[in-house]
Subunit: 635 residues, 2 copies
């Protein structure tokens, strides 16, 4: 039994080059500024002044029912979190000024008792926490707390943390099962995982207790959302369209310990399960552990796209029935993929098993990264696996601007997802050029990793400073890898593979170098029969990257192609408009243009014609056109 | 140039055995009684008593906004038409009593000025013709007139015709461009073609003129439907969801002569185009002829299912965009297929061309006949080309009971669709065992045809009584036929094929026998690329019949099959639950059940396994289950 691992957070790890480093540079230098400018233009920042007049004009332009969206504060918080993470590694006086100024706005807006929510305070100041189901107050509080934790970790400043702690303490006083407390919880989970982050930073158990209360109170009967609806004289039934219960939309149909199936709004589900996984660890609660494993199994059995995208339906931004994974109409919200990666990262700390890290890798490189345009300032809100040429990124998803800052904070804190360490073990989840410091047996150690992921599967890890005690290295063996090879200081080793991680235990010396080769094969994926739209089709991947075909590299009417990758695929490493990238030319055939009649008695003539494919994350960055992940497969 | 042909109506032709004869027997002996019983139960017959109290109980049970549906009178009329046609060939005193009694109800309900509509007279008697767009008054009048024409032809009685003529004369007085007349027309075409039938029976040109007025007034500006909406203070915009115009739903967006594309509600389109084709002939109007040909071309280019079903969308019960022909979700209303066959029959009398008769045959044997269950008393309202096992016939489509009596009248007057004659020519459109009398050069002639269609492609025609003048026989060569052979009195002849009809001209003697062999091959159909759901799929036909696979003959999850009919198909003539039928066993392979994971790296293993297919019209008559027309095709 492996001792519990702790993730090495982003303060312990810095990226040193390559794919993710370049991404961080772009997000730091372009995306952060773009988001801030949009928030200034749209009204998120002005909203913090708690003055209805600030919404004039904007209100009409955007068609908001009330001025501004109910969850604008969370955009600000996510931007603060992203910017703080960036400032840890980069001097940027201008950005620092914007961050400090924004924190000052929050400080002024915060009420004497600690409460803070621009929407409520501006539009209905006497109605705090009257509609927990819909109004996202605790969700916004959660993002504020997350931002504060990251800001404190990155900058050492207490300014934002003080605001968050005052707010959190207010929540501790308001919510709970006490006779004068509110026994409610938020329609959109987020506060639960945020409180655990705050607990881990401060070691104050009241935050852990409140998180646990929110998680365990959820879905209990009599239902809190019914009670509060009655109290506010609301006669409208809530979203009566889920077969099980309207509250399944927010995973509040039954108490969490009675839930067996992944249901409802995908982002909400991911944030809730993340909190449950954290609680399971913190409380040593085996029932919650089993619950998480069940949810994971259910999701991966029938509800995840090959890109790692989740939540196929626009109607509920979430899950529907098993195997309902349409391609052209897929919703697969960027934020849901982000939440999935976050949950996977937490699962790895319950079970060090590569099935979690493999899926995390897949959703990061595909479902998540597709959400960000190459220009760093355009975004997909939802991520279909096929396009007729009409789906494009937008510079700001003003109707629900949750994704841009969520992408930014994930990418800028990505270094915190790479490694974990325990008393005598360090685990490497993702191969990214980076430096990490960790402690073994109380002694500081440092490693430097170099890799060319996601384009080449060779990675090396050099222990710059090794502790005197022997320790074990656990290296994830990616599920996509061909026969892998390991060497220590140039000499082959044949480690035992435990739950998908290669375990190499020895007395490491400073300067020791561990190399791993994970051959990146071109792989052909087929779907379960039940996924109706994928029958007779195949998807192509290489290493962690799912590929897609675009019209601009090929020709219109992409579905004329039929691929037969078993006849061969050529690789080409390119460095052009899309940066460094590996393109594929997959053997195939194409229907020849024929007579135009509706029905004919002859199968369409086909001629041999390869199809060019590029990584899915890079699509829609050049000439607009059709896109296809699941290509027809056959001879 | 062929002289104009006249159809030999159902009074000139009687069926003598075989497939259609059996159908007529069943419809006459089962379906007519079933429909009458349902109309008595539901309220159509009682509604003719014009008493709101007759609707009590029924109103609540069916959730009608007003008692009864606005077009219930048309159900009664179509039943009368069907029953009348049956009574021509069959003594059935009980049925005759029901027919006469129903006509008596209509006679009593008719107002002194000739007006007759149970809905208006019961619920808003002062509001005749105030909402032509929605309320189907003229549509109901049209069906009453059609019933009267058929009743007069079949029985020689004037009872129903008198009612219809009085109503029609009232309409002639009310509608028109005169200063005291109403310049409107019906939202649902039908009256137009009915008035032409009345004109042809009575030779009264005022009925032709009114039909022409209705057709030509349609879609003119200022728009009549706008005008009447204003007059009744209706502020609600009408169905604002067609890209061209809301009135495209009823083919009233622009005047008919400016229409180029088949749009809107499919039944309305078919009834309107039928009237336009009739008018084109009656008026010798070349512009209308071109219009009809254009509509036909547009429909067949991109908007018809391989079953001859039309109108793919439930939303408007009609046409959407080109090539939008989904299988599982197809609407393809039974009545739309009936209307399509009626229009095709009229097109044949503009151009004697087998492309019209071929399509008519296809929609009759597939799109239409699927609508009627083998028990004669269950009905499909819409006819998908694939089913997940949940689509079944109902004993009465109470929400819109248009199809049952429409099926009955089509089948019972089907003998009127088989032959046409001109001064010195007789044309045979469909090969059905029957006797027909016609005149050549003013002399009576008689033929007897024998065929085993749709299961065998051999047909013989014996001239029982031949006129002294030579004349030409035109026999349709079905588009699906292999190399066809013709013989006269056992000696091969090689006729010229003109527009898909074999032309054999000679001095026919009484007793001469003409035989034709049209080999029924099993054919494999492929779709145009633009029909997204049919890519990589094929449909199977034999002769006029489109085939489908059902779960009950095979196994669940029909889409595991991949057919390769080029490797062979076995035929089996069966006589069981489905009556006489030819089943096919088509070469194919099936995916073997494998591990249950969502994605795998190996293409599903396949093993050789034929699939049993039966004619589409016969599906859903045994154990409920999946059904599929377009099967995956490949090796």
């Amino acid at each position: 039994m492996l001792p519990p691992l702790q993730p090495l957070d982003f303060t312990r790890v810095s990226l040193t080059g390559g794919f993710w480093y370049n991404l961080q540079q772009q997000v730091g230098q372009v995306t952060l500024g773009h988001i801030y400018a949009e928030m200034r233009h749209q009204g998120q920042l002005d909203a913090l002044r708690l003055d209805q007049r600030m919404h004039r004009g904007r209100q009409e332009a955007n068609g908001w029912y009330w001025g501004g969206s109910i969850f604008w504060d969370s955009d600000v918080a996510k931007w603060l979190e992203a910017a703080s993470a960036y400032l840890l590694r980069h001097r940027d006086a201008k950005l620092e000024t914007l961050v400090d100024g924004t924190i000052e706005l929050l400080a002024v807006a915060q009420q004497p008792d600690g409460y803070l929510n621009s929407h409520i305070l501006t539009w209905r100041p006497r109605h705090r926490f009257k509609n927990l189901r819909d109004l996202h107050e605790l969700y916004c509080a959660g993002h504020l707390i997350e931002a504060a934790v990251t800001h404190r970790q990155a900058t050492g400043k207490e300014t934002l943390l003080n605001i968050a702690v005052r707010f959190a303490d207010y929540l501790v006083s308001v919510f709970g099962s006490g006779s004068r407390q509110t026994p409610g919880y938020c329609g959109h989970p987020e506060i639960e995982l945020a409180l655990i982050r705050l607990y881990r930073l401060t070691s104050e158990s009241r935050y852990l207790d409140l998180s646990r209360f929110f998680v365990e109170q959820r879905g209990t009967k009599p239902h809190y959302f019914d009670r509060e609806a009655v109290e506010r004289l609301d006669a409208t039934k809530f979203r009566p369209n889920h077969p099980v219960s309207p509250y399944a939309y927010m995973q509040a149909h039954v108490p969490i310990r009675e839930q067996r199936e992944v249901v409802g709004h995908a982002v909400r589900a991911m944030y809730l399960y993340s909190a449950v996984a954290d609680l399971a660890r913190e409380l040593g609660d085996e029932e919650l552990v089993r619950l998480c494993r069940n949810f994971w199994q259910d999701l991966c059995r029938s509800k995840v796209y090959v890109t790692g995208g989740i939540g196929s339906a626009a109607e509920n931004e979430g899950f529907t029935k098993d195997y309902d994974l349409p391609n052209l109409e897929s919703y697969a919200e960027t934020c849901a993929a982000i939440g999935f990666a976050q949950w996977a990262h937490r699962m790895v700390h319950i079970d060090l098993d590569s099935r979690y890290t493999d899926m995390m890798e897949r959703t990061l490189y595909n479902g998540v990264l597709a959400g960000l345009g190459m220009d760093g300032k355009s975004f997909f809100y939802h991520n279909p696996l096929a396009s007729d040429g009409t789906h494009h990124r937008v510079s700001w998803p003003w109707w629900c601007p949750c994704c841009p800052a969520n992408l930014a904070r994930l990418i800028l804190s990505f270094s915190g997802y790479l490694y974990s360490a325990g008393p005598n073990v360090v685990a490497i989840h993702h191969y990214v050029s980076s430096e990490a410091s960790f402690s073994i047996d109380g002694q500081e150690a440092r490693l430097a990793a170099v890799s060319d992921f996601p384009f080449d599967g060779t990675a090396s890890v050099r222990f710059e400073v090794a502790p005197s005690s022997p320790f074990e290295v656990r290296l994830r063996v990616p599920g996509w890898s061909g026969d892998c090879q390991f060497a220590v200081n140039g000499r082959d080793v044949a480690p035992k593979i435990v739950s998908g991680y290669a375990a190499i235990s020895r007395s490491w010396k400073s300067g020791d170098e561990l190399t791993a080769r994970f051959p990146m094969r071109v792989q052909t994926h087929f779907s379960n029969y039940e996924v109706a739209g994928n029958r007779g089709r195949a998807a192509i991947s290489r290493g962690p990257l799912i590929y897609c075909a675009e019209e601009t590299d090929n020709a219109p009417r992409l579905d004329r192609w039929m691929i037969h990758p078993e006849k061969g695929t050529e690789l080409d490493r390119e460095n052009g408009d899309l940066g460094e990238i590996v393109s594929l030319s997959v053997s195939g055939s194409i229907e020849e243009d024929e007579e135009n009649s509706l029905y004919t008695l002859s199968a369409p003539a086909r001629k041999s014609c390869p199809i060019k494919m590029l990584p899915y994350y890079a699509w829609d960055n050049r000439a607009p056109g059709e896109m296809l992940v699941w290509l027809r497969h056959g001879r």
